[in-house]
């Protein structure tokens, strides 16, 4: 029987060498359960989030964890048969119109996926109507809007207005995030929640997903 605990701990420690060695070991084992390995990686990322909240890790560590997670998934992908994520449902995520920054959004995407969301990442500089279309087509009930520039606040507000105009505002939970975001801007935008860190964003979205 394969034990996945070391993989989880190595990922939590952001020990790339140990993560890759564990992956080499378990993927060479005919009893490999790829879903269990992915779950171990996701649990490792939960440790990363906890260490971020405790102050041991910081933003650069989250960025590195995203890279490490991608590499781990790439290594496990040939052994995976079905869907590995999405147990918490679909979520649409993007950087809003007129903002080209994606580092924060990518950290959040990585942590949301690790938490069990199926994330539809629409990219950067995304227009409100594109977001509305994506929500309608995917049936996602949670929307994450990211932005670094204060210009993004106005785009976030217009996006929420577009949700209202499309008649879907009441069905969608909206969280906004990024450097300029504050409680006051959250109220101005008309979002349901705001956050300036990835771990908190995951926590809020998880809470919503469990209620939906």
């Amino acid at each position: 029987m394969i034990h996945y605990e070391n993989l989880k701990l190595a990922l939590g420690d952001l020990d790339e060498e140990a993560v890759m060695a564990e992956l080499d070991r378990i993927t060479a084992d005919p009893e490999l359960d790829a879903q269990a390995a992915v779950a171990a990686c996701q649990e490792g990322l939960t440790i990363v989030g906890e260490r971020f909240e405790s102050g041991e890790y910081f933003v650069g560590d989250l960025i590195f964890s995203g890279d490490l997670m991608s590499d781990a998934f790439a290594k496990l992908k040939p052994f995976m048969s079905g869907d590995v994520g999405g147990r918490l449902g679909k979520l649409v995520l993007c950087t809003v119109k007129d903002d080209l920054h994606d580092i924060g959004k990518n950290i959040v995407r990585c942590m949301l996926e690790a938490a069990g969301f199926e994330v539809l990442d629409l990219g950067i500089d995304v227009a409100p109507e594109t977001i509305v279309d994506a929500l309608k087509e995917s049936g996602a009930k949670i929307l994450g809007l990211s932005g670094v520039l204060t210009l993004a606040i106005e785009s976030m507000r217009k996006t929420v207005e577009a949700l209202k105009a499309a008649g879907i505002r009441d069905e969608i939970k909206v969280i906004i995030g990024g450097a300029p975001v504050t409680a006051e801007y959250c109220a101005l935008v008309g979002a349901d929640a705001w956050s300036v860190n990835a771990a908190e964003t995951v926590s809020v979205c998880r809470g919503w997903a469990e209620q939906l």
């Binding site: 560590d61 590195f64 920054h101 450097a179 101005l188």
Partner: protein, 389 residues
């Protein structure tokens, strides 16, 4: 007051505030307005950054309209005409959307650290510049370089002319050119060479290489500034508001171990020397800085002006009791609040933080139109000028 007397008065306001023992005559008010100035004066970003007459109208007009005591930006942050002669592609300027930003970029491959460490100057000339400027190549027309040098001369000539005209209006320069601006090696890696993502990964994968690269870059950037400080005569340059400036940006991604490894040693070396020479330093800090308070607790009062962005400035005052704090006026309030709310915020800040050790400023680099309502800015400026401490 004559312009000279006004300039001296304003320098005195800043110097008294930083001393933390002398009460300034009134609250010093520092402008942290950047590209917002261009829009507010009725111009487009591309106009002001490409036409020095327009930039002069922006800066002088902005001072005439608001009358801050000092300016973080006087039109020298974005030398577009200089960089564009060599082909610059990392800036995004969109006048229609009123967007002006820089994309994350990397000019250093992970495999090239040894080359950078061995000779950072050579590496920058031979590797970084050709990657940053697509016309900068070994076979480039030498006239292109001549044109770039001429543009650079023109840029600085115009910058000095603008600053002289501001001085003639009673506005002091913010930072003494004797000691100037220092950028640390880690900052070059963070924002100039590897980018945010690249350096985040490198610090985990190859911390010793990153440390050596920081040391190499510090040897040609921060260390000459330290040596200049060591050679300089003790005491402040009373012609300016501060003696030197360090922009603190890269800490926004560093954990504490990384801060101790990459950031704190060169910064401490600079601050130690500033204190030893009885000078002052402005730390222009992006993001949150509260978690680093312990590193500053042993410095005596009177040397550090700490300009903060996203931290609650009252918490900053408690955490950094020996530093003059700069900031406090939120962009959110200037942009979305009323004039009364903005003025009330000033009164609150003075009650809580004044009269010594506090310089009023904006809590972010004011860049876009919605960052501030001009009527609110005017109300604050007018109130501060009339208010005696």
């Amino acid at each position: 007051m004559t312009a000279q007397e006004m300039k001296d008065y304003r320098v005195g306001l800043f110097r008294d505030a930083v001393s933390m023992t002398r009460k300034p005559d009134r609250l010093p008010h520092l402008s942290n307005f950047w590209t917002w100035q261009i829009l507010d004066m009725g111009y487009k970003f591309s106009e002001a950054t490409h036409d020095y007459d327009v930039m002069e109208k922006v800066m002088l007009g902005f001072h005439e309209r608001y009358g801050f005591d000092g300016y973080q930006e006087t039109g020298i942050r974005n030398p577009q005409r200089v960089t564009e002669t060599l082909g610059d592609s990392i800036y995004v300027i969109d006048d229609e959307k009123e967007l002006f930003c820089l994309q994350d970029h990397s000019y250093l491959e992970t495999s090239e650290y040894d080359e950078l460490i061995a000779n950072p100057t050579k590496f920058i000339w031979e590797k970084v510049l050709p990657r940053k400027f697509y016309r900068f190549r070994p076979d480039m027309d030498p006239q292109l370089m001549v044109q770039c040098v001429k543009e650079n001369q023109l840029f600085w000539t115009k910058a000095f002319e603008r600053n002289s005209k501001l001085e003639a209006m009673g506005v002091p320069g913010l930072i003494s050119p004797k000691n100037g601006f220092a950028s640390l090696g880690i900052e070059y890696l963070f924002s100039g060479l590897r980018g945010i993502k690249g350096i985040s990964v490198d610090m985990r994968r190859s911390p010793e290489k990153v440390r050596a690269a920081c040391d190499a870059l510090d040897s040609i950037s921060a260390e000459p500034v330290v040596q200049n400080l060591i050679r300089d005569v003790p005491g402040p340059d009373m012609g300016y508001c501060f003696d030197m400036l360090v922009a603190v940006l890269a800490h926004t991604i560093l954990n504490m171990k990384q801060w101790e490894m990459f950031y704190w040693p060169p910064l401490k070396r600079i601050i130690d020397e500033v204190v030893a020479k009885n000078k002052t330093i402005q730390l222009f800090v992006e993001g949150s800085f509260l978690r680093f308070a312990d590193y500053f607790k042993d410095y005596p009062k009177g040397h550090i002006g700490l300009q903060v962005e996203s931290d609650d400035i009252l918490e900053v005052r408690r955490a950094f009791p020996n530093c003059c704090v700069i900031g406090g006026m939120t962009s959110q309030l200037l942009g979305q609040g009323t004039r009364e709310q903005c003025v009330d915020r000033v009164k609150f800040l003075v009650d809580e933080l004044g009269p010594q050790g506090f310089i009023l400023g904006q809590d972010k680099m004011m860049s876009y139109r919605m960052d501030a309502n001009p009527a609110n800015v005017l109300a604050v400026c007018d109130y501060v000028r009339e208010m005696k401490l």
